[in-house]
Amino acid sequence: MSTTPQQTMPTGIDTASLEHVERVAQKRIRQRQLLVISLRIAVLVVVLGGWELSARLKWIDPFFFSMPSAIFDQIVDWFVNGTSQGPLLTQVWVTLEETGLGFIIGSVAGIFCGIVLGRNKLLSDVFSLYIKIANSIPRVVLGSVFVIALGLGMASKVALAVVMVFFVVFANAFQGVREADRYMIANAQILGASRRQVTTSVVIPSALSWILASLHVSFGFALVGAVVGEFLGSKQGIGLLISTAQGAFNASGVFAAMIVLAVVALAADYLLTAVEQRLLKWRPAAV
């Protein structure tokens, strides 16, 4: 309908009808986004509303489970007046630092070991057994060991986050490597790739969606590890905030701290998704 001349296509389908089609498509996309957001809000309203209501009607005991309004007040209070350990953002930063370091070290180690063992049958035959054993060790127990070995500083929290992350990432990297198409690997070898080049240019790209899937879930795990580490002794961080609130029968404080964690996790996931979309831009768009 419009006839703006600068809109000519490289190889022309007639401009007007294309524009119309595109407008329709964009409108549909916008409508869908709106739908998704409203549904998300609906879910949130139902959950929070149900929670608030059952707490107010004493179906659940707000002493244990608090209620959204009280949690919100607690967050606002922390934000405005700070926590008794210092400003809220400092607590977030402390935990985030431990988490981030643990996440990076754990996933790099997991990816590295996964790829090495996935590519080398002998190593995997020998060591997989021991990795399975290590994975069955309860993390809280490991926590005490780390504290003794590494002291009560950041190192022990980071170590705990590392062991939470490592196994998930390792398992996926390992399997992802083994799923690499053998014809693709053969093709690279025939084209002249060395063993290392096969790994970097075939095995890793094809294991990438496996690795990324594990990274998504394991950031949350790193967070859990850092918080558990803070439970074992610390003077700052969200974990301490939770344990102080627990000791003071302040259920609102416990849940408020968890919501702060959730925000951190969502922000990290958002970043991860952005990275993922860059790395996987070669894929057909999902339908």
Partner: protein, 313 residues
């Protein structure tokens, strides 16, 4: 040089002097750089002390005896609580048939953990009332919320806990006090003597090599205990960080009031204390049972009593 102290739950009222000292600025007054860490799980604090990760621990005195039986020398420098501060609470529903420890037969008794101080105390109380440990069940239920939930859900008939859980249960009316070990009289009646519990302890070797630091720390804590003895619960609560009482300051003050009698005034070990503790432990702690314990090595009043070297401000 920085001194790190691990507190087995800095928000717990029985360990209140630790954080209060910091809040009052008494560490600084002594020229000390002290860092207070909190660890609700508690059980690892001694390991961290022995491993050198922390220089001191605020925890139960009985650990010094337990550790000596394992060849580790730890001594209490300052005694915060001359009594355990523990209360055996009986669920309101069970209260009619559970009027004293002698009624424990066939009942389920809650403790924070098997092998914890609360479990030894509970077993000892039952034994004194003539109920052997085969006739009741101990159930580890943890502290705080999970303890309250266990009472409310009738999983235990009675259980041992501290403030502010006690006040909370009394407020809601879910439980009543059966045996009160927050006061000297109650404790004497129940255990036959004082029972030093909440205290500050360090490795003996550290105390010897850091005599001046040990003395300064002891003085700081002693000053705090003096402050507690000379101030009201409201005044004390006003000094504490607000997250320690959450949204319910009244409950906290009430709990504090009920707890104030447990604290020593000078940080010194009460004369009959160590024996009582040893008696309880020897009865039920398998690693202490039948071992020779040199109680003199488990505590010292030297540092709290020592003359102040640095001129007090």
């Amino acid at each position: 040089e920085k001194i790190t102290i691990m507190v087995g739950g800095a928000a717990k009222i029985i360990y209140l002097p630790a954080r209060l000292t910091e809040q009052l600025g008494y560490f600084k007054d002594e020229g000390l750089d002290v860092e207070i860490l909190s660890q609700p799980a508690g059980v690892d604090a001694e390991n961290e002390l022995l491993a050198g990760a922390v220089q001191g621990v605020v925890g139960f005195y009985d650990h010094t005896i337990d550790l000596q039986s394992k060849g580790k020398e730890v001594e209490a420098l300052v005694i915060f609580g001359q009594v355990p501060g523990e209360v055996e609470m009986v669920s309101t529903k069970a209260a009619d048939t559970f009027k004293s420890m002698a009624d424990a037969k066939g009942k389920t008794l809650g403790v924070t953990g098997l092998g914890s101080s609360t479990s030894f105390l509970t077993q000892y109380l039952a034994q004194r009332a003539g109920v052997p440990s085969t006739q009741y069940t101990l159930l580890p239920v943890g502290a705080d919320n999970s303890f309250i939930a266990a009472i409310k859900q009738n999983r235990i008939d009675a259980g041992m806990t501290t403030e502010p859980t006690v006040s909370q249960l009394l407020k809601t009316g879910d439980a009543k006090v059966l045996i009160d070990m927050r006061t000297l009289e109650g404790t004497r009646a129940a255990l036959g003597g004082t029972y030093p519990a909440s205290s500050f302890y360090v490795q003996r070797a550290w105390a010897e090599s850091h005599k001046s630091d040990a003395a300064k720390l002891s003085h700081a804590f002693a000053k705090t205990l003096n402050f507690i003895a000379t101030h009201s619960a409201e005044d004390i609560a006003a000094k504490m960080p607000k997250d320690y009482y959450g949204s319910n300051k009244d409950l906290y003050i009430g709990a504090l009031k009920a707890s104030l009698p447990m604290f020593t005034k000078d940080g010194k070990m009460p004369a009959d204390g160590p024996e009582t503790v040893l008696r309880v432990l020897s009865a039920f702690n398998p690693s202490v049972k039948g071992k020779h314990i040199d109680l003199a090595k488990t505590y010292t009043n030297d540092f709290v009593a020592a003359p102040v070297k640095t001129a007090a401000k």
